[in-house]
């Protein structure tokens, strides 16, 4: 037996209320665990500090996808397989379905959850660029009640979020009002399956004749957390697609990207490829 799992305690309450009560009352800090595709790896490697875990896996209150007239609400406990299988997501939120399709292997998609992908706060995670492009809203829940905030305000610093100790992510809401928006997504990794991205971009843009009326660009692995490329967005709004516009947008990406050199890639490669990806998207808008 390689893992040191026996040093950890796991409890699995059968309702969300019971989980929230434990998070609120317990003097010990509990770490929520859903599908375990991230935390069980950290645990096995001895990187998981907290020795007490509370299971969120398969709680009905967190595992749902609700389609409202104006929005889709995805429970944080929905797996990537749940997301890939959902007909409305496939039809209306194609880049979310696409990101889910390359988030780990089939076995990991059957366990990994959208909420876990967000809360884990990896700068390289696959779903955040899409959620930034869709301008998703998060609903956080605790015994004190719920609050909602735009996903773009969720991350504070590397692996730091606005989530309080007694709170968990409840759901992700995405507006269905996407008429006229053209989507783009591309992940650059070492291989197609199971690779952590070197850099990834997801974007949506709406044109008014030849002018860019609105554009939202989400990026992974360009900063210490998943980020909108707001300087590039601002350089593009109201512009037509010309060589000068593209050059200005590329320059903006290079000013706001703060990538790092690490085992997967170099800062220079990441920034250059991010600019290339954005340019590729802009050419599709011409």
């Amino acid at each position: 037996m390689r893992s040191n799992a026996t040093q950890y305690d796991l409890i699995a309450p059968n309702s969300l209320d019971a989980v929230l009560q434990i998070l609120a009352d317990s003097p010990d800090r509990y770490t929520p665990i859903a599908g375990g595709t991230e935390l069980m790896v950290a645990l096995g490697a001895g990187r998981l500090q907290s020795k007490k875990l509370v299971s969120l896996w398969n709680l009905d209150e967190l595992r749902f996808i609700e389609v409202a007239p104006d929005a889709i609400i995805i429970g944080a406990g929905s797996t990537f397989t749940d997301i890939r299988k959902h007909p409305i997501i496939a039809e209306e939120f194609s880049i979310l379905a696409e990101a889910a399709s390359w988030t780990g292997s089939v076995a990991n998609q059957n366990r990994g959850t959208l909420g876990g992908n967000i809360v884990n706060a990896s700068p390289a995670a696959d779903s955040p660029p899409v959620l930034l492009a869709y301008d998703a809203r998060l609903t956080l829940i605790s015994i004190r009640g719920t609050r909602t905030l735009p996903y773009r305000d969720f991350h504070l610093a590397y692996k730091e979020t606005t989530l309080e100790l007694d709170e968990i992510l409840h759901s992700i809401t995405i507006s269905r009002n996407l008429i006229g928006y053209k989507p783009y997504i591309r992940k650059v990794g070492t291989r197609n399956a199971q690779a952590i991205s070197k850099v990834a971009i997801a974007a949506l843009a709406r044109m008014n004749d030849a002018y860019i009326e609105d554009i939202r660009i989400g990026a992974a692995s360009l900063r210490e957390y998943p980020t909108r490329l707001t300087a590039a967005e601002q350089s593009l709004v109201g512009k037509t697609i010309t060589p000068a516009t593209i050059a200005a947008a590329r320059a903006a990406v290079l000013t706001e990207a703060r990538p790092i050199d690490d085992i997967r890639s170099t800062a220079k490669y990441r920034a250059t490829v991010a600019a290339n990806l954005l340019e590729e998207f802009l050419h599709t808008l011409e």
Binding site: M1, S3, G44, L53, S105, A107, R111
Partner: protein, 137 residues
């Protein structure tokens, strides 16, 4: 806490599921949980309560090999054998969803199962053969 993989191998002596990487990358520990392919090295045993788990030991019917196992045998889809239980369960999961998968669907269905011996081609051929034979119980 115990991992499902340890419960299977150590407590239940079901040693078909193997520990490869121990971090969900290789698929050697794959089992079916309520019919879904999962990596048992990443599953706390407590989360399995009430679920139906199928290991490679549960696939053969009595002494008769499951059709997928027979196809892996006949097509040479196994060499050292460490990846084989996971490969076969991943194939089972794939053929439940796509009875006649394309090569691309086979590659995606097995993308979390690593094999260092075969170079994959004979595994893909075994899966194609299994889809032709049909895997109806």
């Amino acid at each position: 806490m115990k991992r499902l993989l340890d419960v299977l191998r150590e407590d239940l002596q079901l040693t078909g599921a193997k520990e490869g990487c121990g971090e969900g990358e290789c698929g050697a520990c794959a089992v079916l949980m309520n019919g879904d392919l999962v990596n048992s090295c990443l599953i706390p045993a407590l989360q399995v309560e009430g679920a139906r788990i199928t290991t490679i030991e549960g696939l053969a019917i009595d002494e008769k090999l499951h059709p997928i196992q027979q196809c892996f045998l006949e097509e040479g889809g196994a060499q050292c054998g460490i990846c084989t239980p996971g490969m076969i369960l991943a194939t089972h999961h794939l053929l439940e969803k796509h009875t006649q998968p394309t090569l691309l669907q086979i590659q995606e269905g097995l993308n979390g199962n690593l094999c260092r011996c075969t170079g994959y081609m004979r595994i893909f051929e075994a899966v194609q053969q299994a889809s032709l034979v049909g895997t109806a119980k």
